[in-house]
Each structure stands twice: as structure tokens, then as C-alpha cells.
Amino acid sequence: MTTDNRRAPGIERALLVAAIVGGALAVIAGAPARATRGSVDVRRLALIVEQEEDHVTAVELANWIRDDHKGLRVLDIRPDSEFKEFHVPGAKNVQLPEIARMPLDSTATYVLYSEGGTHAAQAWFLLQARGIENVYFLRGGLYEWLEQVMNPHIDPKASQAERDSVRALARWFGGKVQIGTPTPAPSVLDGVLTPRAPNATRESIRRIRRRAC
């Protein structure tokens, strides 16, 4: 014999079949990733967006959190490191690819936010495609949260009641109100948080977190 190798025709044949099947199926599969399909009713979504029922304001979200809105799930879709620096109390950090895969609760109310709001809007679309209708996003993103809730500017022309509610909301979350002329939206680390948040805030945060929102 020219080659001094043993042969194992049985196993070799089995491997041959496996290669053919594996290769043929690969051609059919195309991409090495299972496609997760979603479907949308385009007209319904267009209406929702036009009627602005796709998003909430930061103040609305803040009130929901403070009032312990039933089934509220706040999702932060920024990178892990940014989440660790600062996040909305009770929010859970989820990356976009996970949004495509994670188990969802159709009875819950999802609120998505990102730094500026674009990614959150895209994630909103993904969740809609996955069949979740109770989903909103923070259109102005974390900037809006910091500007409207944590470090709001008190409008001197507003009524006393309005001014009180803004101040109370800010204090509840451990933020502080701006005095004088409005300054541009603060960066997260600009000392927006008071060193000691009021007890009510800590308690609510504990309550929210325990629900594993």
C-alpha cells in the first residue's frame, strides 16, 4: 500500500454524511445566528407615534415611580459602566441585543430610556415588534430626567402650586432645584444629587428594587 494509514470506512462514511448535511444546512441557514422575527402593524404604530402616545415625559415617569405605578418596569439601555455611574431609581440595565431576546411580561408597563432618547426609541420599536403594547420611552432621555426632575429650573412665572410640586419631586429623588437663571442640562456627575437623599427616597428606592423591576 502506498499510504500506511489504517482506514475506518464505517466511521469515515458517517463523517462524510455529517459534512454534507452540515454544509447543506449551512447554505440554507445563511447566517450563523438564529433569526428572531417580530412583526408590526405599521399603521397602528404610525398612529401611536403621531398621537405622541409612544413616550412619556421625565416628570410623568418620576410621578409613576413616586406613586409606585403598578407593573412599572424601567429599562436603562446604556452601557453597563454608564449605568453604574448613575441611573433612574429602580431602573434595570439591559443592552439592546438582550432586548431582542429577554423574556417579557405583557401585563407590565415598560419605560425605556437611554442617554439622549434615540436608542430608547429604537428599543421601543423592538418591544412593539415583539408584541408588547404597554411600552413607552423617555424622549429626551437621561438629559430630560436630569433637567426636569433632578435639577429643574423653577419658573418664576409659574403658580405656587406648580413650583411646590417641582421642588417636592426634585427633593424626593435626592436632586436639587436650580435657583436663578436656567443653566444648561447638567452632566450626571455635576453634584446633582444631594449627599443624603431624604428617607422617603431611600425607602421607595428599596421598594422599587425589591420588585426586581
Binding site: T2, D4, N5, R6, E12
Partner: protein
């Protein structure tokens, strides 16, 4: 092709004429080699395991670079540090260049090859060569072939293991180009080396 394992024992690769006088021939008691398909699938599984565990494939020539770098660094550290090639293997200078994944892998290859040969009775202090040349001629050829491969492998940043197997499996364009070029070069040179092998 019949499964003629017993008949194979005692034959030498590629030689059906009698050359019993040459001492370079593998002896009769050695077990026949395994099916190259099965051995190949075995290597493929090892390669796959490497991807699964480490996120990288196997290699070989890189280990040689590490060894040479370590030697040059030992003899002339400044020269090594100033050379773009050696610098790559020196890293940040914290550890020895020998503390490298490929170096440890090659150590394993030596052990594994030794084990397999030992169990199959294929350990032999000998020189594999064609029947028409002398041992010394073969050793010179081996050394030259090795040197040429050393240059080629470093220029291409890999060899048949690192580029051929790893690059092949990950569908790297340059790796497939390398394999095609390597086989082309080998087949081009083969006619001139016929006397050495046949």
C-alpha cells in the same frame, strides 16, 4: 480500497521496492497510522475546543518567534527592544516572552506526539529520508527547509497550523491565500527535490 491494516505493517510510505539496507526506514513493529480523516476530525475537534474555551485557535510558528525573541533579549536587550519584530513578542516587558500561550501549546504538542508514538511503538532514533540521499544530506535539507519556513511563516504571520487550520476554519481571506500559495510553492519546488524523496 480494502481495509488492509495487517498487510500494511512492515511497509514503508511510498516505497514498494526493497530498500532493506537503508537504516532510515520505519521498522516493522510500528503500528500503522490512523485514518487521516479521523485524525483530521480529531484535530478539528481540538481546534473547535480551543475556540470554545479560549476564543482563539491553535498555532505553532509564533512559539518559535517567542523562543528566538527570548534568546535575543537575553543576549542583547536593547537591540531586541528597538527591533519592531522582537518588540511584538516582548510585550510590555513585564514577563518573559516564553510566558506565551503558543509556547505552552507547543510544549503540549511535544508531549502529545511523544505519547502517541510511545503507545504505537513508533519512537525511533532515526532520520526520515528518501532512499536516494544520505542522512547528512537529509539533515542539511531539513535545516534549510526549516530556515526557509521560518522566514516564510513570519512574513505571513503564521503557518499551516495558525493560518491553515485556525484561519481556514474562521474563513480568514489571508489565511486561505497563504494555504494556496504554500501548496503552490511546495508543488513548484517538488520536482527539483525529487531525488531527495523518491
Amino acid at each position: 480500497m480494502s481495509d488492509a491494516a495487517p498487510a500494511v505493517v512492515g511497509r514503508t510510505a511510498g516505497s514498494t521496492t526493497a530498500h532493506a539496507t537503508t537504516r532510515a526506514v520505519t521498522r516493522h513493529e510500528a503500528a500503522p497510522y490512523a485514518s487521516p480523516y479521523l485524525a483530521g476530525v480529531g484535530i478539528g475537534l481540538v481546534l473547535l475546543l480551543s475556540f470554545v474555551l479560549m476564543g482563539r485557535g491553535l498555532g505553532a510558528s509564533g512559539a518559535f518567534s517567542s523562543v528566538v525573541t527570548a534568546a535575543v533579549n537575553g543576549a542583547a536587550p536593547t537591540h531586541a527592544a528597538n527591533n519592531g519584530f522582537y518588540a511584538r513578542y516582548l510585550g510590555d516587558g513585564a514577563g518573559s516572552p516564553l510566558q506565551d500561550w503558543l509556547v505552552f501549546e507547543i510544549i503540549g504538542v511535544v508531549i502529545g506526539g511523544l505519547l502517541s508514538a510511545a503507545l504505537a511503538g513508533r519512537i525511533r532514533w532515526t532520520t526520515e529520508r528518501g532512499p536516494a540521499i544520505t542522512n547528512n544530506h537529509r539533515l542539511v535539507n531539513a535545516f534549510i527547509g526549516g530556515a526557509v519556513m521560518g522566514i516564510g511563516a513570519r512574513l505571513a504571520r503564521g503557518c499551516t497550523s495558525g493560518l491553515g487550520l485556525t484561519g481556514g476554519a474562521t474563513l480568514s481571506v489571508g489565511s486561505w491565500l497563504f494555504v494556496i500559495a504554500a501548496f503552490a510553492g511546495a508543488y513548484a519546488a517538488a520536482p527539483f527535490l525529487r531525488k531527495a524523496w523518491r
